[in-house]
């Protein structure tokens, strides 16, 4: 459920844009992909995580990338373009699908070094406390009273628990709590 990366595709060639967008979504979802014909049409370049763009466009707008964290990835036709010394990230649009996928992946991972991926998201002590009470059948309001926290805080803990475990229903959370020894079956009744 982490926010998906925002990707900008700059290409005057609509078909290249559609193709690259399909490929991005097929291999790297979830992503939020926008296509424009010209970088000049993009006022908020900084709001994108990665921008795929033709080399001439990059040469023209290079300064805009200098001040922001958006990663530029150059779309080239054929391997080994002079630009590649300064900007190592390129995608050769004449390559095979596997080559393109690998190059795109390199471009994407340059920006997000495993953010939210691979790292196990454990419940905090407070979340475990809330989960125990949920499993024992307490309602949000009662949990708030019992732990002396606001209802709002209880709700936000519950949202985080659901996000971390991928379990939404009270019955599901109860089973999780039982399986992990957070409550015993006589607590749940």
């Amino acid at each position: 459920m982490s926010a998906s990366s925002r990707i900008l595709l700059v290409t005057p060639n609509r078909l290249v844009g559609i193709g690259l967008k399909k490929l991005l979504l097929e291999y790297f979802s979830p992503l939020d992909v926008s296509i424009v014909a010209d970088l000049g049409d993009v006022p908020e370049l900084r709001s994108f995580d990665v921008a795929f763009l033709p080399s001439d466009s990059y040469a023209f707008y290079r300064d805009r990338f200098a001040a922001i964290s958006t990663t530029p990835v150059i779309l080239t036709e054929g391997a080994g373009v002079s630009e590649s010394r300064e900007v190592p990230l390129t995608v050769n649009v004449t390559g095979t699908e596997s080559e393109i996928v690998e190059q795109v992946q390199r471009g994407l991972s340059a920006h997000r070094p495993g953010r939210g991926h691979g790292k196990a998201e454990h419940l905090s002590a407070r979340e475990v406390g809330v989960l125990r009470l949920v499993a024992r059948g307490y309602l949000n309001k009662q949990i708030a009273d019992k732990l002396s926290i606001s209802l709002h805080t209880v709700i936000s803990h519950r949202k985080n628990i659901t996000r971390k475990l991928g379990i939404k229903t009270v019955s599901g959370l109860t089973i999780y709590a039982l399986l992990n020894g957070l409550v015993s079956s006589k607590d749940v009744g």
Partner: protein
């Protein structure tokens, strides 16, 4: 996903997506259709070709949903199809999952606690799902059929009573989401239950849960985006005549 068309062989459609076999069954089509094309089989079995194609394509391809085409289909055909999918859940899919869970619980692995809990959880889900299906069979579908007949007759007698008892608005409000539990069950089995030596049965349960979930999503999509709007339009037309 390739678009399925009238002049393809039925066998080709199954090769493109074997999960469609039970969907074909719902139309009364049984395996053993040889080299026949979709068009031929539909003609022989008096199946509405457009409806058939729309259903199999929508089932295979999440992004493909030919609303405009489906809206021209007779609502009785749609209700019929929805009823047969209910029957499939009730008589085939749910009992199969129950059997698998039972056999998992019987196997003497060290960690069956999770399986027992999952079994109980599935029973809870089953009760909810069955109540949901029963409500549609007892109330929604008969109502839809009555609205259809009244609309076709172009008369207004009895329309006030009918529309006062139930409506697509009421259906929308009560049409709650029962798939959260199913999703949770999948997650619990995938992440927190260890099957011991009986991997294959647990895997099969999970496959079946994914399949059921997908089928129900498709089913709900037909109800919410096709059935509800068509019937709501009929309701409005009836109200205009009644005035």
């Amino acid at each position: 996903m390739k678009l399925l068309t009238a002049d393809m062989k039925l066998a080709e459609i199954v090769h493109s997506n074997y999960l469609l076999i039970p969907v074909l069954n719902r139309f009364g089509i049984r395996l053993g259709f040889g080299e026949k094309t979709v068009r031929t089989v539909c003609r022989e079995r008096r199946i509405n070709l457009e409806f058939f194609l729309a259903i199999v394509n929508a089932f295979s391809n999440e992004d493909f949903f030919p609303e405009a085409r489906l809206r021209t289909v007779n609502v009785l055909t749609i209700v019929d199809y929805l009823r047969t999918t209910h029957a499939y859940y009730i008589h085939a899919q749910i009992p199969r999952i129950e059997r698998l869970l039972r056999s998992l619980a019987r196997s003497k692995s060290r960690r069956t606690k999770g399986v027992v809990l999952a079994q109980r959880f599935f029973q809870e889900y089953k009760r909810e799902l069955l109540a949901h299906l029963k409500r549609e069979e007892d109330v929604t579908f008969p109502y839809v059929e009555q609205v259809y007949r009244l609309h076709r007759s172009r008369r207004s007698r009895g329309s006030k009573d009918l529309l006062a008892r139930y409506s697509m608005q009421a259906y929308e409000e009560e049409h709650d989401n029962v798939d959260e539990k199913l999703d949770d069950l999948k997650n619990i089995l995938i992440k927190y239950v260890s099957s011991g030596p009986d991997d294959d049965t647990l895997n099969t349960v999970i496959f079946e849960l994914f399949r059921l979930e997908r089928d129900i999503i498709d089913h709900t999509r037909i109800e919410d985006t096709i059935l509800r709007p068509i019937v709501a339009e009929m309701e409005q037309a009836i109200q205009r005549t009644a005035r």
